[in-house]
Symmetry: C2
Subunit: 333 residues, 2 copies
């Protein structure tokens, strides 16, 4: 085969916010599958905020990306060659060898998905890692109960938009924050949030006082910064904070300003728990059994922001930090 | 009876650090017990950091002290008149009508204590509210397990000194911080802490790296500020923070600098829980059954800093914020 496979490699490590020069498009020889391997034509690539962490040369819960090597991330594609009886050509699979046109993997590294009931790209978002993140953070970390008030920041993102909808399905009041009037309107008018505010134009302490006058039971934290303190200030006794991420701080080169309201955990007996979705993989079947039918029937809505072409994958990633996405950011090949 | 009872009233609300002018000594008529009431001659009064919060006119978990009214707090004394069959003259009791020489209470508000096995003042400290705070924070909030490493700040205080000793009894490694070489030496040489450092002279991030090179499992938080972040930075995966108080911030008039390391709760899956001892009163019998014998036999040591005379109660309270106490601060009448 003389065809080439294109991929994105890490050209240099970002200092602060990533820039296009940190990435490079490369053409490499088409990979040839050996015994037990499958060759996959990637159709959708995922870009996610957590990938920023792996671009630093720092010890973390996953090893850092290496300079000159292709980046990794969730992807769905079609099997073209399968040297393993568990898969056959034409199967749709979910795997982690993204940022490239063609993926070569041991068969065990590719998980077959049902692309008939929902579009395959949904397995990168609402039914994939972001979806499980939302479900686990709400139920297993935040311990949300029917009748409680749930606030989620970054509510127009892939994780946040599902948090609010799952909270509504559960019988909670759902409050969200997002950047810009269009996103805010989407939350309340389309997704059924009980209230939403634009963190760019309204002080979050006041906004939460207005939208949740009796206080918040569960805060699903996606962004960090002033909204974290605003949530603590507006929290009820025995409130819970599920900390999924703090995207506002991912690119910081100076230490962030810090939480000044942290002392409130004492009088309010607040429980703050950080979590990572990989610790909840064992709940994936339970999550899919509950949420896939809700997605298939349209009861849970999701939106995607779609960039096209392998060469635009870095731009799609950079756009995450500018809040350019509504719902899951994916790249269509 | 022409004798007067002296008491300390709140003269004005502190702005920032309390000053002597916030308090006033008053002489009032001796209270006369009615039916079902007891008259108690107070022998030891407790002053505790949490009282600072009640001096603000702010909604909190306990109502604020009122200007012109006597302050309240733990006290032990001897029953002089008992118009109730549950108590008799000469009984030692623990109650909450401190900051005064004579206390008049419904009999149900006074709890009989056994002053034969330990000195009565111990019921204000190691066997009282601070003791239960240490025990509950370590066991019920921090969920310390044998073999784990426990770090406690404010380790020479009434709560902290017990946290470390209880951790040792449990089979943990105990690390403490305190202000000044004498206190640090007391922790390691007398109380059996495995390591201790002087937060005034050593950077807490470096000190914890030195004393707990494999990291901390449980942080018992008494002080706030840089030690909070230092603990997060030195924490193991799945570490727990039991937040008892943040004395460094109680007198702040400006917002405190804030925690800049809070984002570490995500990759380390840290659980931060604020707690208040009143939520754990139901464990008092369990606590006393476990700890009183350890105190009576000298296996658990405690120290008191004793001021004398009702008129010096405000000074004893003010001294708490200068770290002038080793162990429990009490006022002997």
């Amino acid at each position: 085969m003389s065809e080439k496979s294109h991929q994105i490699v890490l050209a240099s490590r970002p200092k602060g916010a990533p820039v296009p020069e940190n990435f490079r498009l490369e053409a490499v020889a088409m990979p040839a599958p050996g015994a037990g391997e499958v060759l996959i034509r990637n159709r959708f690539l995922s870009v996610d905020p957590y990938m920023r962490g792996r671009m630093n040369d720092a010890k973390s819960y996953v090893p850092p990306f290496q300079i000159g090597q292709p980046l990794e991330g969730g992807a769905v594609g079609e099997v073209v060659t399968a040297n393993d009886p568990s898969l056959k050509p034409g199967d749709w699979v979910l795997h982690n060898a993204g940022w490239r046109e063609w993926a070569l993997l041991p068969a065990a590294g590719a998980q077959k998905i049902d692309a008939a009931i929902v579009p395959p790209s949904a397995y990168l978002g609402v039914l994939g890692m972001p979806g499980l993140t939302a479900w686990a953070g709400l139920n297993k970390v935040g311990l949300a109960q029917p009748g409680e008030t749930v606030f989620v920041s970054g509510a127009a993102g892939a994780v946040g938009s599902l948090v609010g909808q799952l909270a509504k399905v559960k019988g909670c009041t759902a409050i969200g924050s997002a950047g810009g009037p269009d996103k805010v309107a989407w939350l309340t008018d389309e997704l059924g949030f009980d209230g939403a505010f634009d963190y760019r134009t309204e002080d979050p302490v006041q906004a939460l006082g207005r939208l949740a006058p009796k206080g918040i039971d569960v805060y699903f934290e996606n962004v960090g910064g002033p909204q974290f303190d605003a949530a603590l200030i507006n929290m009820k006794l025995h409130g819970r904070v599920a900390v999924c991420g703090m995207i506002a701080q991912y690119n910081a080169t100076e230490p962030p300003e810090g939480s000044r309201a942290i002392m409130l955990v004492v009088p309010k007996r607040i429980n703050i728990r950080g979590f990572i979705v990989v610790d909840y993989w064992q709940h994936l079947p339970e999550f899919l059994a509950e949420v896939a039918p809700l997605v298939a029937t349209g009861k849970i809505k999701f939106r995607e922001t779609v960039y096209e072409g392998i060469e635009n994958t870095p731009d799609a990633f950079l756009a995450l930090f500018k809040g350019a996405n509504t719902g899951k950011m994916v790249v269509k090949l």
